[in-house]
Subunit: 186 residues, 4 copies
């Protein structure tokens, strides 16, 4: 089996919905399974035993939720020091209020997750613009869902904002399956 | 007089419209004037003689238009080498298709401009979310206008997408005026 | 009096040293005072009562220390929602292992702090390359000190790596003083 | 055969040296060939016919050389519009003066290249810290060589600064070979 580990934090449930959608997409690929975990419950062994690591976060002031950051600082940094999970597959997703014409810091937030993923030595799966659902909730770095109304009150994600996350999960599982057993680095 | 120099490139006219709106906002401040220039027509002397430098660009594949980049590589880099314009005021704006839930690379594009502005040693004026027009065309780094339809064909900017640019111009002029004559660095 | 608030987290003492050096530079400017606080001890009132906010962090896996991030998520985000501190002055600094030819994620880390600062509507003071000490510990976004040996063991910061931080403090105090009483936004 | 296309611009020869080193690393993998091209000489057909695209650039004021940007704006953007090269492999490298404690904008420069690569839908190969030569010329996003002396005069790259580029080429070729024939997206 190919195992995709999805690690996330969520405030109002939107990132959690996206995590579930990514997992759903993973399971569409034969011989692939998904495990979803809150950031505070993930240990080094979980990183070592997966084939792909997917990180999801709310966007807060243009960077990662502090709970996801605590996981990165205290768990991932150890894996980095010891080159523990080099060569696995990595990917990201996020949700935020996204006030304004852009996404309110979603790019730098997803790049902060990707910084961690690149340092860990993971092969990165982006989100091509032709992915179904991209227009509703896509960014080149991964699915990004705007989950707030114009007055900044949370309104959650609609079904069409979850489509790109499902496809992202499928892409990640396929990449992890195609690369499993290959030695890319070292 | 306080002089604000606005340097830009434009493909379909949207960035040019924003440049004009920034200039309009500058002129609302007493004793402040704006000069608008296409990137290919700006020389070192223009940088030296202004009090504030504002850079505007279309977003292409998540980074600066090559014409603006050529100006930065060939003109700004010389000002950097010689510490020629340290302590002036700097700001940015951009327009793009912005396909997807975020802004299609608008953050990294504006940060590429700001990288140049920080290296030149300019005091940076951001765009606070309370600025009128922010919801229609705002990002924390400056005004950002989405100028394309869902099928990616250019549709231009509406009047309400130019409001934040006008206010940005006013903010920049006020900051340049307040700081004129002060020695912040060195 | 012009008040500069310096908020930081530190693992091995390097960021703390830089915070002290920034404060020292602030105090060189007449009528300016500095207050240094650990991130977990800062409240909204502290933000409201200062004239300049300076944020310092260790670099962990290419982004902000989680304790600084918790402060941003739980305290700064409230100031953003209510547009509480728009128009003050903001700046950043960081320290990290910086393994490799670049700085190991120092740019994205400092930009994550600056994302918060831009969203809060603060006028940003960068670090011009002509600043004394820049070559030893400078980056365009602010002072950056590499504090680890080649084998990644912490070795602390030398005196010449603190020079740019002192000057940064002086620049920030001068900018806050020059802008105090001016209305730039709104 | 697996074909790796290396596209670059160079001012003083350092990026060109790195391009040659990447190509050398590619050729160490059985059934893999490398083609090196200056950015101004690359056409859409070249992108379509390769299995992996590697982009290299000098760092100028914290972003891509304008010649590489012109290639991205005028050639890559067309491939993006038509989803022409989705699912191939992508990677980056850079060289710069890197004045100061960090890398003088190398992160944002490499991320600007990666923004293009992610938008094109390419699977991204980073540079793990355990790669030989990382300490001399490595960054998580790819090899980064500092090529200037402390007074900013160009001094070129030493042999040990080319080691990480060779290994990067080998990694990229292996990833392209492992993924060739797989359908990850769509």
């Amino acid at each position: 089996m190919v195992k995709v580990l999805i690690v996330y934090a969520s405030d109002h449930g939107s990132v959690e919905k996206m995590a579930n959608a990514v997992a759903e997409g993973v399971k569409k690929v034969a011989d692939c399974e998904a495990e979803i975990r809150k950031a505070e419950n993930v240990k080094m062994d979980d990183l070592v035993s997966c084939d792909a690591l997917v990180l999801g976060t709310p966007v807060h002031m243009g960077s990662i939720d502090w709970r996801v950051k605590k996981f990165i600082d205290t768990v991932c940094s150890g894996a980095w020091m010891q080159d523990k999970i080099v060569g696995k597959v990595g990917a990201v997703f996020a949700s935020g209020a996204g006030y304004g014409g852009g996404g309110g810091g979603c790019e730098l937030t997803m790049l902060a997750l990707l910084n961690n993923i690149a340092e860990l030595g993971l092969i990165i799966v982006p989100l091509p613009k032709g992915t179904p659902g991209y227009q509703a909730a896509g960014l080149q770095w991964g699915p990004y869902g705007r989950a707030h109304a114009d007055d900044l009150s949370p309104k959650g994600l609609s079904d069409d904002q979850l489509v790109s996350s499902k496809h992202h999960g499928t892409h990640i599982a396929r990449a992890a399956k195609a690369l499993k057993g290959s030695t890319i680095f070292g």
